[in-house]
Symmetry: C3
Subunit: 159 residues, 3 copies
């Protein structure tokens, strides 16, 4: 018999370890679950020990497209870390509904959708194509802590 691999098995296969959950610095929640929908706060790429922003800077000036795609990929790990903390793991994730991608860009850098592709492709690898989100990618002026990419998400979760 063929077993569909779980997200955890896919992560192990890809050598992916979720980052430690970041602390909440302010009066908000990283994830709010209501009627089977999880609203996930904006997340950015981090590095541990000590916890700090990874891939900070302006895409098209300080960072290349490839570095920005990696920033988006690691920011998605932040989204998954928040979801795993809120849901007690990732098994309850049914599918992504919407992914918002915000890219800190230099004037003239228009490949913002390619940047967010770094996150979308990881969703595909881990959860499969049936879990893919609708998506909006925009280039913005500044992001918290000088991050190059912020992602937020709306996710369908099971009880």
């Amino acid at each position: 018999v063929h077993h569909v691999p779980t997200v955890e098995q896919n992560m192990k296969e890809l050598g992916i370890v979720l980052p430690e959950p970041v602390p909440v610095k302010g009066r908000y929640q990283k994830v709010v679950v209501h009627n089977g929908i999880a609203y996930v706060s904006g997340a950015l790429a981090t590095l541990p020990d000590p916890l700090r922003v990874a891939y900070a800077g302006v895409v098209g000036a300080d960072l290349t497209l490839e570095e920005a795609r990696e920033s988006a990929r690691v920011a998605l790990l932040g989204i998954l870390s928040s979801l795993a903390e809120a849901l007690g793991g990732l098994d309850r994730v049914e599918r992504f509904l919407h992914l918002g991608g915000y890219v800190n860009v230099a004037p003239g850098f228009t490949k913002v959708n390619h940047v967010i592709g770094g996150a979308s492709e990881l969703i595909d690898s881990l959860f499969g194509s049936d879990a893919l989100a609708a998506r909006t990618s925009i280039g913005v002026a500044e992001l918290p802590d000088g991050a190059s990419v912020v992602l937020d998400a709306i996710v369908a979760v099971s009880a």
Copy 2:
């Protein structure tokens, strides 16, 4: 007896033909429907044959307010094209819940809500005032493929 005109009848009356659905270039979905809600990916104005971005450029520098309003209007047709493809037509559209409008602006151009009005007014013309969305209009730094306007939407749909 008086019949409420359908969206298709309204479109015919206004001489509006939906653009061909754009191909998905990446790992996302143009529309995700879940529990009666459609999440629609960011869409921009296009021209066909060959498919290309229409009204590219910076509003307040390359494009006037009127051109930007037309860009928003045509971007909404992109949203409708995606919905029609996903739902097998527009009859299942109950109402718009939220419309996000992102405008690629020159410094000092603050009439971003007037730009997005080009899309809102078309929703009104086609679906009627009971279908109007809550709306957020912001001026951004860059948009995919140099578009002047991107729209995304959350839409209530019937089964």
Copy 3:
């Protein structure tokens, strides 16, 4: 017996009076309620008599962090004013699901999450920590009417 204070009592205690609802200038709705979820249009800080934008300008250039936090706080009052008008008061507000915060920033101003904190802290004071939202804070290029902060919200409401 101990009574949990209502939002109205908390507002009275804090000396907060909701601003008059702003008129709708265009083809959108300030609040759309669907299946227990309220989608609230982007709101900015206003002053009355005559109605005008408060705290207009660019954060990090025209406005300090503290002024921007006050702008976010007053913009949240705009969100609450819209909700109260749509729901016949604030008693039907169950909790905030998502708060979007858009800050008109000067280059190099990265404390956008601290700015939006001015709104989040007011949600906490009025509705309590169980009502706190997931949150996305981004720095943008321009906002309607030159506002320094725009907020939008998705809110769970009871019947």
